[in-house]
């Protein structure tokens, strides 16, 4: 077959799949620009930013945005640092149990989220974490830990164990070796884990519905409420903003990765 044709064929297939994946998200963008009071597609030349203006005025949304941001940052910090310490511990240990422990840490991945949510609800109510910012952040961190462990462990598997030993032989404690030698070498993996857990918390809704009610509200939760209570296009506007922020984070990560690659390339 003509190689040009084959290449165009697969490019087209890729584009169609990409569009199929992105379409639901894309639909929300014009909806958010409608001038009407209902969720519907605007007319061809009939765009308005009124729902975005309303968002800024309505402190329900700004409070939710602020809560979401704080929860995402805190849960990202918790999940990343816990996973980092756990992964390094497993990596350092020569025990025959370390593989089993690693698998155990990944079990949350196969537990249905709704079951985790229910369990967290009952524990959070008993411990007083229910409906607190820190409670939601911890709940999100629990969901993120397996992802972070996978990411950081794969970085660690490329790391020469002799670096750690060298630091110890020079007189560093295990903590100093981790801080001075391992963490700087694992930066890309740690950044990926932090980003991953941030985004995971940023758009989490199932667990949030269970462990928070009135005093804490995240953006996805407010969207959920908005859809149930009054079908208001400001929900579409918030969703659009969420998508744009996620795209920005992904772009920053991608650009950073490119520059790191370019830098290490030129030093070779």
């Amino acid at each position: 077959m003509n190689p040009d044709f084959t290449s165009y064929f697969w490019k087209t297939v890729s584009l169609v799949i990409a569009f199929f994946l992105a379409a639901p998200a894309i639909v929300i963008i014009p909806v958010s620009l409608t001038p009407s009071n209902y969720i519907e597609m605007p007319g061809v030349s009939d765009f308005s930013l009124r729902h975005y203006h309303e968002l800024l005025k309505d402190n329900r949304w700004t409070t939710a945005a602020w809560d979401s941001l704080r929860i995402a940052l805190l849960s990202s910090f918790l999940a990343t640092s816990l996973s980092l310490v756990a992964s390094i511990g497993i990596w350092r240990s020569q025990s025959k149990w370390s593989a089993a422990i690693q698998s155990a840490l990944l079990v949350p991945l196969i537990i249905p989220q709704i079951a985790t949510a229910l369990a967290l609800y009952s524990i959070w109510v008993q411990t007083g974490l229910y409906d607190t910012l820190i409670g939601v952040a911890i709940a999100h961190a629990i969901l993120a830990v397996p992802f972070c462990i996978v990411t950081i462990s794969s970085s660690l598997s490329n790391l020469d164990p002799r670096l750690d030993k060298a630091a110890l032989s020079l007189g560093a404690s295990h903590f100093r070796s981790m801080w001075d030698v391992l963490i700087p070498s694992l930066k890309p993996g740690i950044a990926a884990a932090a980003l991953f857990s941030f985004v995971l918390s940023w758009d989490e809704v199932v667990v949030t519905l269970f462990v928070a009610s009135r005093s804490v509200s995240t953006l996805p939760r407010e969207i959920w409420n908005g859809v149930r209570e009054n079908l208001d296009p400001s929900v579409a506007a918030v969703s659009t903003l969420l998508i744009l922020i996620s795209i920005c984070i992904a772009l920053v990560a991608w650009a950073k990765d490119l520059s790191v690659r370019a830098k290490s390339g030129e030093r070779q």
Binding site: D160, R162, A167, L168, L170, G171, P184, S185
Partner: protein, 353 residues
């Protein structure tokens, strides 16, 4: 006995008489990586652990460094038992295989790291690091990162990082193994000079017999987890005590004793004669002294190396011998030709079969 196990404290010794490996074994499951090793490292010496891969030499070195705990036995620095002192408190230096330089730090920061851990003032650190970098001729490379260095420069950086805090014992794990032959030779000479200049104690692990013979005050030959023989390079080469040491160190011929000495055969032993201790002459040469043994042989093959050539000859009995002939004293040797070969009885050494 465990007075040094106080956390956060370095092994508090400036000098020592000897490090003693006392009946040490290490088992992984049922497999003995190191079995009943007894050996002593004297202060100031350059000791090499020599053996094929899997002989336990690296495991033994890692037990000295503290990364591996012996299953049995103790390790002593003079009268102190350090068997369970963790590596970060031993104040030994280790140059790892592959060097393990910290990739995100410059050469300067790599070398300064152990001093920073010891909380030395910054000005003193600078002075000390510059001094050691000029000792290993890396002053011009202080701001480079490890990946910008050649293999030899990386090796010298790792050595500088180890020497900078004056460890009482320096452990080298195949530290020249990855380099090409010529560079390895140069670095061997440098390392020898450094050892003489600093008067520190080195324990080196290698599988390279030339490196071991050239650099060491003493060599520990290891095989299958145990010690075969300990001695100076000359002792091991001239008076090996087992067939393993004979075959591992240098080129060798093993002869039946009846042939080697003349007279009756001792089936329990063989006579070692090194290829360079055999002379080769024209087939009509006559013996010149009482001590000399001479036999006729046929030349099988010759290999020319410039400074010398290796000749393989077959005796009438079918036994083949390797003879090393110095090019300066060579007689014309043709493949298939008849020659007489001879050796002095005093150059023979008996080895148990």
């Amino acid at each position: 006995m465990n007075d040094m196990k106080t956390r956060g404290k370095f092994l508090d010794m400036d000098t020592f008489e000897a490090v003693r490996i006392d009946n040490v074994s290490k088992y992984y499951g049922a497999v003995a990586a190191v079995k009943d090793v007894d050996c002593t490292v004297q202060s100031g010496e350059f000791l090499t652990l020599l053996g094929p891969s899997g002989s336990g030499k690296t495991t033994l070195l890692m037990m000295l460094a503290g990364f591996t705990t012996p299953s049995e036995g103790q390790i002593w620095v003079d009268t102190k038992d350090i068997t369970h002192v963790p590596p970060e408190q031993r104040n030994f230096g280790v140059v790892f295989q592959g060097y393990a330089l910290f990739p995100h730090m410059t050469v300067f920061d790599n070398v300064a790291y152990p001093l920073r851990l010891r909380k030395m003032p910054a000005r003193q650190i600078r002075q000390k690091v510059e001094q050691i970098l000029s000792l290993v001729r890396l002053d011009a490379y202080a701001d480079r990162h490890p990946r910008q260095l050649s293999g030899g420069q990386q090796q010298r950086t790792a050595l500088a990082r180890t020497l900078v805090y004056d460890p009482i014992l320096i452990l080298l794990d195949e530290s020249l193994g990855a380099l090409d032959k010529q560079l390895r030779g140069e670095l061997q000479q440098e390392l020898k000079a450094l050892h003489r200049q600093l008067g520190r104690t080195f324990v080196n692990v290698t599988h390279d017999q030339q490196e071991a013979l050239d650099m060491s005050d003493r060599i520990v030959v290891m095989n299958e987890g145990g010690v075969e023989q300990i001695g100076t390079p000359r002792e091991l080469y001239e008076r090996p005590n087992s067939r393993f040491v004979v075959e591992f160190l240098g080129d060798s011929n093993l002869l039946p004793t009846s042939l080697a000495f003349g007279g009756t055969d001792d089936p329990s032993r063989s006579a070692l004669i090194r290829p360079e201790a055999i002379s080769i002459g024209a087939s009509d040469t006559k013996p010149t002294g009482e001590d000399q043994m001479m036999v006729r042989a046929t030349v099988r093959s010759t290999s020319y190396f410039g400074s010398d050539q290796l000749v393989e000859v077959a005796l009438d009995s079918g036994l083949t011998l390797r003879v090393r002939v110095n090019s300066a004293h060579a007689i014309p040797i043709e493949e298939g030709g008849s020659v007489s070969i001879s050796w002095e009885r005093r150059n023979l050494h008996l080895v148990d079969n």
